[in-house]
């Protein structure tokens, strides 16, 4: 990738869960328009990184900046207003609310009724299955549909940067492909993506750049193509 405008920047970010040192000095940048993947094993700190960016957990030191502004201490509900949406691990849709209400909650921070309506249409065009189930309680959706709802809900915040945490988890291979191509589409429409995945093969396929996390540290970084060929990555994450 050529030089792009930096959208998100993490400098020496540390996170502790009680006595556990979960992130050990993470440095990471995401440029405007990129898809950046964060790969690594279970417990490496991938989700923690996203949660720290979203303000769901507190950092113990370091700095997170977004569009040049320090957002390290910004509360989670204000981070969304700045244009950072997260599709959390396990989808975390509101199972007791209807599909429609879930999408409306995505637009909770917005006041532009017209824009909300347009975005709602756009999301429902992108996910026709959600349109079919619009009045249904979200808990009755299949796993794949729930993932689409979670992505749709995040899109309703009209994000500049979308953080996706394990969007492929628990989905059949065909659905995984579908979800990943949707992520690419969203990116082509102008949303920057930071993607956390255990499915390293898929993640490297669609990403421009990637970071490899191991026990709270970034051990490798580079273009996705480079990393896909890297011996260590192949051995550890791509099955040889």
């Amino acid at each position: 990738m050529g030089r792009v405008e930096t959208l998100l920047n993490l400098e020496d970010v540390n996170v502790h869960y009680g006595a556990i040192w979960a992130l050990k000095g993470i440095n990471l940048t995401v440029g405007e328009g990129e898809i950046v993947s964060l790969i690594g094993a279970n417990g490496a700190g991938k989700s923690t990184t996203l949660r720290a960016i979203s303000g769901i957990i507190k950092t113990s030191s370091g700095r997170i900046s977004y569009q040049g502004e320090d957002i390290t201490k910004t509360p989670a509900h204000d981070i969304v207003k700045k244009g950072i949406a997260q599709v959390p691990e396990g989808r975390r849709i509101f199972a007791n609310l209807t599909v429609m209400e879930n999408l409306e909650l995505g637009a909770y921070i917005r006041k532009d009724a017209k824009g909300i309506k347009q975005d709602m249409e756009r999301v429902l065009d992108r996910f026709p299955r959600l349109r079919e189930r619009i009045g249904q309680v979200a808990g009755t959706l299949s796993g794949g549909e729930q993932q689409m709802l979670a992505i749709g809900r995040a899109l309703m915040t009209r994000p500049k940067l979308m953080l996706l945490d394990e969007p492929s988890m628990g989905l059949a291979p065909l659905l995984v492909k579908e979800i990943f191509s949707i992520i690419q589409e969203i990116n082509q429409d102008g949303t920057t993506i930071l993607l956390v995945e255990q499915n390293a093969r898929m993640a490297l396929q669609i990403a421009h750049r990637a970071y490899v996390l191991e026990t709270g540290r970034i051990v490798l970084e580079g273009s996705a193509q480079e990393l896909a060929k890297h011996e260590d990555v192949k051995k550890a994450y791509l099955g040889g």
């Binding site: 769901i56 989670a76 209400e101 808990g139 628990g170």
Partner: protein
Amino acid sequence: MPDLLQQLLNGLSQGSIYALIAVGYTMIYGIIQLINFAHGDVIMVGAYVALGCALMGLGLIPSLAIAMLTCAILGVIIERVAYRRVRPVSRLAALTSAIGVSLFLEYTMMYFLGADIRTFPAGFFPERTYSLLGVTINNKDLLVLGTTLVLVIILQYIIYRTRTGKAMRAVSFDGQAAQLMGVNVNSTVAITFFIGSAMAAAAGLLYGIYFNTVQPLMGLMPGLKAFIAAVLGGIGSVPGAMLGGILLGMTESLVAGFGGSMYRDAVAFIILILVLLIRPTGLLGKGVQEKV
């Protein structure tokens, strides 16, 4: 037959008051998983505020409005001062804090206003009775039923038709996910206390008029009963709390009306024990279900 109808009517009134209290219990539990044991005492404060208004010559509706607003604010303060800081520590800490708030409210009232039983001035709500099909209908019954109906409709509207209500339901399902949507969890919790406590204040006024009693410990029993009603309906479920309240009121009334008035309270607790044994999630409560 008229006897049965009479008991059912009494039960309906009594149950409506339970229902108004129970919705507050259940909403607060739904959003922060705390049994707010001070909730019953908010009823008492509401009754005293309404009584004060009545003594100053205010009418029923203004007294009700002032009591609801005062308690709504009291509820928000209770949450802010006594629960917010201890909530993340442990549920037990918050529960202990709730018991502390309960005692604080009871004995502060007793200290300043004495333990005497007070009553609403005679002209505040002049009693009238009507007779229909052999059933005596008191206008107190109509007041209780009417007020409850109006408040429940407003509550349903807020919860299911407004942006705030949507946020409340989202937070009660998954606070973190709601935060990721830009919902401010703390203010949503505060709003829940505001609404729940306003409902409790209305119940306090109704209770004070219905039983012609206002005293510092008056919230204890209805508070406990409403808690049972909330568990019976399925704690966390607003329609469940209403249903539980009505069912409990009716059951108590039937037991009392047919010779078992000594066992009225016992029956309520037996119901609690049976629900916990047989169907811990209550009548309308949903078990935890997650899709992977």
